[in-house]
Amino acid sequence: MSLWKVAWRSIQQRALVSLLTVISMALGVALVVAVLVVYGVVYQSFHRGGEGYDLIVGAKGGREQLVLNTVFYLSQPVGNIPYSLYEDVKEGSRFGADVETAIPVCMGHTYQGFRVVGTVPEMFTELKYRNNERYQFAKGRNFKADQPFEAVLGAAAASRTQLQIGEAVRNIAGGSHTDRAEFKVVGILAPTGTPVDHAVYVNMRGFQEIHHGAAAAEHAERADHDEGGKHDEKAKHDEHGDHDHGNEITAMLVCIYPDRANAGRTDVVARMVNDSRVAQAVVPARVIADMFEGVVGKLQWVLLGMAVVTVVEAGIGIMVSIYNSMSDRRHEIAVMRALGASRFTVMMVILMESILLALMGGAIGLLLGHGVIWACSPLIAEWTGVVVDMLQFQLMELVLIPGLVVLASAVGYLPAVAAYRTDVAKSLITTP
């Protein structure tokens, strides 16, 4: 009969109170697990987006906005850059000695909530995503450079819009203007777990063609409404960021030859672009890391702090429940002492009881936390593209178990000392 069993027996004797303290500990631990896993998910989904190319070249302005716009397809489109800059940067050109690939992208409106992106077929042949993975087509094929009205759907966009191969994407220019052009879906990408899943890709040529037309139509509309006024329409259009110049793109995604990137050439190319005064070049991985640290990173510590407070609170619950029971068990402790248990032994029994309660709570909390995450994993996968597995433990969770033992020893200390101090002769006489 080990001391652990002695401790376990006294937990059993106060089954209800023990159960309640275990539950409150489990909830606290589950919260910590949830915060850690969700943080991991957000971290991954955030960082993945910026992998696969080294630089984004886009209009001058906030670098965060450029990244949000071109990587995550979020926020309002930024301004445009001249197509001629693309010609200057692409491989083998003026700035392009170190450039392996440059892919132009044009951000359009949204189609059923998914960003429409005009680009070139090389987007899916030259670029890689995440860990050097190649884009795969789940259905159909890539769009062709010489077919201006072909489209390819990201995995999530395809499943949500229910569009099939051969069906048409209509009215992608948005707004009230007449937009009769149709893009025929020729391919659906396999899921990548990146923002690419959440976009509709069309041939840039077709894209520019309709936006040209749409802009012209809008022009006409506005002219109709502004009957008396002599507004400077050019200024108005710039303010709205419309793509009214055919020879513009939103941004380009640039890959530097790996060996040259390692030799620091990425920054050299970036500087050349920045010096050109028409555009800025940013390193997406760096911007994302900064944004993540700045916003989500701090939030994570706040959430984690709150979750840890819950765990500590549950620990104090254990202390209170054991301490409250001390008056009942003073007699029991005296009996153990009279049977020959040392002060140290009865103290250990109380500490072990505290540790057992905390660890049981911890174990249930881990299961609960991962269970909830697992139950939510289809949702998480749909929203972020990150597939969480039930057993996806975060490194920080390893700290949890020793942490709980330390916490349990700390909260068990007070009642353990009370046990240590029990006056045997006196407590033996008073029957409970």
Partner: protein, 226 residues
């Protein structure tokens, strides 16, 4: 084997004055000897047993068991000494409520830091006639059965000395004799010295030696009441 010399003990009363309870110039018990201790209620019998067991400390004097002076041992060693050499059947059984009959015996073995010997524990419970009750908890046992578990537990570590504080006070006459026989027989078999406190004349007369605490104790606490 057991020798008490000039043992004095007084308690602090609620009004702050000292209440002398024991003043025993000399008290001896030989190895394997069986004796009863009688005396009025409140004359200090339980206090004396506590001092012999090292649960309470005398204010002065010596308590020797073989070559060991209990009053000189540090507390931790006294605890260990008690666990290994002294069995105690309490006036109020004091079984551990959360543990089964068997576990109550095993836990006593554990505290003596010996390897809990399941076979011996079962054997002891067998001998007190509880082989069919070993997984019962104290609350599921009759008072007489609880007392028998307490006897088995007191003998768990093969003590040299068994202290029994009115072990038969709470059971009927039939069980009283049964438990008494059980204790005496087991002590004889294992050569355990026995000091039994009792109020019952029927019990006392069966022992070869009967001490009145009032005779060996120079303080007369109980007398003031009587």
């Amino acid at each position: 084997m057991l020798l008490l010399k000039d043992v004095k003990k007084s308690f602090r009363q609620p009004d702050g004055t000292a209440l002398p309870v024991l003043d025993i110039p000399e008290f001896r018990v030989a190895a394997g000897e069986q004796m009863v201790m009688v005396g009025r209620s409140g004359c200090g019998k339980t206090t004396l047993l506590h001092i012999i067991a090292g649960i309470g400390r005398p204010d002065s004097g010596k308590v020797r068991l073989d070559d060991w002076d209990l009053t000189l041992l540090p507390e931790a060693e006294r605890d260990r000494f008690r666990a290994e050499r002294i069995g105690y059947v309490f006036q109020t059984f004091n079984l551990l409520a959360g543990f089964t009959a068997l576990e109550n015996v095993l836990v006593a073995m554990r505290f003596a830091r010996g390897r809990p010997d399941k076979a011996r524990a079962r054997n002891l419970l067998n001998r007190v006639g509880l082989s069919h009750r070993i997984t019962h908890r104290p609350a599921q046992l009759s008072v007489g059965e609880q007392q028998r578990v307490a006897v088995a537990r007191a003998l768990a570590n093969k003590p040299q000395l068994l202290l029994a504080d009115e072990p038969t006070a709470n059971v009927d006459a039939g069980h009283q004799q049964q438990i008494l026989d059980l204790i005496r027989e087991t002590c004889r078999e294992e050569n355990v010295a026995l000091i039994m406190v009792t109020h019952s004349n029927d019990v006392a007369v069966q022992f070869p030696r009967m001490d009145h605490l009032e005779d060996i104790n120079h303080v007369a606490v109980g007398a003031a009441i009587g």
